[in-house]
């Protein structure tokens, strides 16, 4: 089923649309969430959250901006990351952080740094870029990256080490 067909189905019947979408994309969602959250219970909780979020957010999906799978990946990844952060805070007994409010100057600075990071990542060799996104966007463990790319764990660790040093140099260290 294509993205447009999903949206049409969703427009006709929200429950049938979501049901079809989850049937087709639940392996993708579980894969993205599973990379971030290693605990199966956490991953299952997060998957339920994402399913609920989809029910609410699917209207906002614009097929012209990208594919449904990319959109679902971003939603699942961000939800899993938030889930992980919340869990780590709970473990350290830290209070929930208030939402960050940036001044216009800080906003411009952050945008500039994001652009700098985008440019640096774009210049990386293909394999390094794949490893970078898997590690820092999908937050996958080294063992998973190595297995899925057919590399040894040591090879991935070595590449990540060099990659971090390069990014640290080009982006200006921990201040990024």
């Amino acid at each position: 089923m294509t993205d447009t067909e999903f949206l049409e189905r969703f427009a006709q019947s929200r429950s049938r649309g979501i049901e079809d979408l989850l049937r087709q994309y639940s392996p993708l969602l579980r894969y993205v969430i599973g990379g971030v959250l290693r605990d199966p219970q956490d991953a299952e909780d997060c998957f339920s959250e994402v399913s609920l979020a989809l029910w609410q957010k699917l209207d906002s999906f614009d097929p012209e901006k990208g594919s449904l799978s990319a959109w679902l990946t971003a939603i699942a990844r961000n939800a899993a990351l938030n889930h992980l952060k919340a869990r780590l805070r709970r473990e350290k007994r830290q209070p929930e952080e208030p939402p960050e409010v940036l001044t216009p100057e800080q906003e411009v600075l952050r945008w500039e740094r994001a652009e700098q990071l985008r440019d640096t990542v774009a210049k990386l060799p293909d394999l390094d870029r794949k490893i970078f996104y898997r590690r820092y966007y999908y937050l996958q463990p080294v063992s998973q990256i190595a297995a899925e790319l057919g590399l040894s764990q040591r090879a991935v660790e070595g590449r990540l080490y060099r990659l971090r040093n390069r990014l640290r140099q080009e982006l200006g260290g921990d201040d990024t």
Binding site: R23, Q24, S26, P27, L28, R30, Y31, V36, G66, S67, S69, A70, T73, A74, N78, L81, L84, L88, R113, A114, L117, R118, V121, R129, K130, Y133, R134, Y136, Y137, Y138, L139, S143, Q144, A146, A147, E148, L149, G150, L151, S152, Q153, A155, R164, L167, R168, G173, D174, T176
Partner: protein, 459 residues
């Protein structure tokens, strides 16, 4: 993430606002790398391109790719694991058969070894199909097109065509191309299928990465093939130290020199050969290839011929065809063939031959192994000629040799002639191991001498 430092956390957070491109999202799957390897590997192994050694390179690369693909998927289900076992066997079998192709047994191998190889490819396609079906079933999905099964069917068509229409020519090229395109299409459908449910596949860890594994496998295979080819193409000659100035034959040597037999050529002959010339009374010498030295450019430059006719009776001559290599060319370390072509009307007997060379200042000699070989001539049809196949030892110098025969002319002829051909192996015959070609159109390393002799009637 708990072991990450601030820099890692900052990168991960910054990427929330920099989602990866569509291409990256499509690439990040547990199956894409493995499936790409399997699909490309299967495509490379189910057809053969002859030329530039592609018939060896493509299956070697293809088998490795299939092995890597199934190695990644081996923990997903039992069918993928079985496919991994088969692909391992295929990689090992291919390694052995490619090394064996460098040996003289090369001609005997292919037909026998094709059967397990074809059976394994079939089993691979089937295990691939069953593995995909089971992986889909595990996430409550049903494969729509069964592409791997269709690929098996098309592979069967290719095999049947190869078996029953081996001399396929142009008429058969179209159906086999169609079958091959169908296999590729089926394989591409596999990827489409996996876009839906392939994320359920689990990748298994590996200890040696694909790059290192490929480098080790291919480098060791290349080394094994080169060493085996060098060993198969080099013939070890039993040798002994050369003895000069033998008291037994000193008188004969003096007599022959008196008849005009060149001293440098006499030195190449062993005592038993000199004893045959006890009754010599006439000698005719043809240096530098006789009347017509011919051959390829490289062959003529590399080999020099000298012919000596020694008459021992009114109707009997002993013919010596000497040859020596102008340079210590690498090729003469490998199979070299010399072939005698005496006058057809003559009765030829006592065919002998020998090699001489020096190493570290010491002169050595070896006897030539003479055999009879069928020979096709463009002008005279087929005939059986005496030939010898030999190699010079590595690092030897002053490489020379001779072939000799006794020719008896029953009739009262006045003129006879003699030809010696020399062929060096071409690199094409190194791998796969092939017979030394006597077809002068196929080798750029051959040379021959031609000389005539007028009988001297008074003894």
């Amino acid at each position: 993430m708990t072991q990450w430092d601030d820099f890692d956390c900052t990168l991960a957070t910054a990427l929330s606002e920099l989602p990866p491109s569509e291409e990256t999202v499509r690439d990040v799957t547990p199956w894409r790398t493995a499936m790409d390897q399997i699909i490309l590997g299967l495509c490379l192994t189910c057809f053969t391109l002859n030329g530039w050694y592609l018939q060896y390179i493509l299956p070697a690369v293809g088998s490795l790719l299939i092995y890597f693909g199934f190695r990644t998927l081996r923990q997903s289900n039992c069918w993928f694991r079985r496919a991994w076992y088969i692909s391992t066997c295929k990689v090992i079998l291919l390694y052995i058969s490619m090394v064996l192709d460098a040996t003289p047994f090369a001609d005997a191998i292919p037909i026998g070894w094709m059967v397990p190889s074809i059976a394994m490819t079939f089993a691979l396609f089937l295990c691939f199909h069953l593995g995909l079906t089971q992986a889909a079933r595990e996430v409550d999905q049903t494969p729509q097109r069964r592409p791997a099964l269709w690929a098996t069917v098309w592979y069967a068509v290719l095999v049947l065509m190869a078996l029953f229409v081996p001399d396929i020519r142009w008429l058969g090229v179209i159906p086999s191309l169609v079958a091959f395109v169908c296999i590729i299409r089926s394989m591409l459908y596999v990827k489409e299928e996996l876009e839906n449910w392939g994320y359920a596949v689990r990748a298994a860890p590996v200890k040696i990465g694909c790059g290192w594994f490929s480098a080790l496998y291919l480098a060791s295979l290349l080394l094994a093939v080169l060493l085996t080819a060098a060993a198969s193409n080099h013939i070890a000659m039993p040798s002994c130290e050369q003895v000069f100035d033998s008291s037994e034959t000193a008188a004969i040597q003096v007599k022959l020199q008196g008849l005009g037999f060149p001293e440098d050529l006499l030195d190449r002959l062993p005592d038993e050969e000199l004893l045959r010339l006890e009754d010599a009374y006439y000698c005719s010498v043809h240096r530098d290839g006789g009347e017509a030295e011919a051959g390829s450019k490289k062959g003529v430059k590399a080999i020099r011929f000298d012919t000596v006719y020694v008459q021992t009776a009114p109707h009997t001559i002993r013919v010596y065809e000497f040859f020596n290599f102008q340079e210590d060319i690498l090729r003469s370390n490998f199979r070299t063939m010399t072939m005698l072509e005496p006058t057809r009307s003559a009765q030829v007997s006592d065919i002998t031959g020998g090699l001489t060379w020096t190493m570290n200042g010491t002169a050595y000699r070896s006897q030539l192994p003479i055999s009879r070989q069928a020979y096709e001539s463009m002008f005279f049809g087929s005939s059986t000629l005496s030939s010898a196949i030999f190699s010079y030892p590595f690092f030897s110098e002053d490489r020379a040799g001779y072939m000799a025969y006794t020719s008896y002319e029953e009739d009262d002829v006045n003129l006879t002639c003699s030809v010696l051909r020399a062929y060096l192996t071409t690199y094409r015959n190194f791998y796969p191991y092939g017979k030394l070609t006597t077809d002068t159109f196929q080798t750029d390393w051959y040379a021959q001498s031609y000389s005539t002799f007028v009988f001297f009637r008074e003894s």
